[in-house]
């Protein structure tokens, strides 16, 4: 892995500011009760996914140029496994819950 890959102060600070904003939005919505119903869950989910991407890019320095291909491959592999196992579990359990009602 490339240690010297542009670890400048501005990269970390940009990531930090973006992370603070993406944390503040869902907290403010829930705290202030500004939104209700399913819309809140969508906002929380979108903010969380964006913040994970911000952390991967600005703190873990993932990018398509300097990150070794096998690292990205493993990240993708883990994402597929997580999607199948978590998605599958929730699908089955929610379906079961629905049928037990």
């Amino acid at each position: 892995m490339d240690h010297s890959a542009e670890r400048t102060l501005s990269t970390y600070l940009t990531g930090f500011v973006l992370a603070v904003v993406l944390t503040a939005i869902p907290f403010a919505l829930v705290w202030g009760g500004l939104l209700t119903g399913p819309a809140v869950y969508y906002v929380i989910a979108v903010a969380a996914v964006l913040q994970v991407v911000v952390h991967l890019v600005f703190f873990l320095h993932l990018n398509l140029r300097s990150t070794p291909a096998e690292n990205l491959f493993f990240l993708g592999f883990a994402a597929v496994l997580i999607f199948i196992m978590v998605g599958g579990s929730l699908w089955i359990m929610m379906d079961l819950h629905h049928r037990m009602m």
Binding site: M1, H3, S4, R7, T8, L9, Y12, L13, G15, F16, A19, V20, T23, P26, F27, V30, W31, V40, Y41, I44, A45, A47, A48, Q51, V52, H55, L56, F59, L60, P68, E70, N71, F74, L75, F77, A78, L81, I82, M85, V86, S89, L90, M93
Partner: protein, 201 residues
Amino acid sequence: MSDTAMNEDLLEHEERKSLESREFGFWVYLMTDAIIFALLFASYVVLSKNSAAGPTSKDVFDLSHTAGETALLLFSSLTFGLATIAMSLGRSGRVVQWLIVTLVLGLGFLAMEMIEFSGMIGQGAGPETSGFLSAFFTLVGTHGLHVAFGVIGICVMIGQVLAKGLTIPVRSRLFRLGLFWHFLDIVWIGIFSVVYLPGVM
């Protein structure tokens, strides 16, 4: 080039290669750890409404406490980043200073989590009370345990930087510890988005 110089070159080359494969191995470990956390999240989501007539998430969660923990972890990610920058500039004194700040923030996070857990257990909302609380303590406790190991790792690396200086193996270890620390902050995003925020609504 003399024989010894060539041998030293070869040795350094081998050392770099071996450290690179350790960094790849550490990345594979982090990905498997992400899968463990994902499955704990799935268990939590399935069990989160099963409070067995005991305390519900609304009764036991305090959003301002969670916001404090979030701030501590996020700041510690930034300060670890600053230690990484100091490392690339070769300033070992600065590295140690930022690692100490990160250590203090990490300990603060652990202290807040301990206060939260002991408060919940004191209210009769311990892990044995309901499916919801079992899943909560398993998920958040596993993350807390990781942070505790990260804190131990930071102590070890402060010692290594002081004793050995910023040698190539020390840099590689610090780099891997940084991956671990930033990874824990990513897991925490999942925890406040899946556990705490929906829990108080």
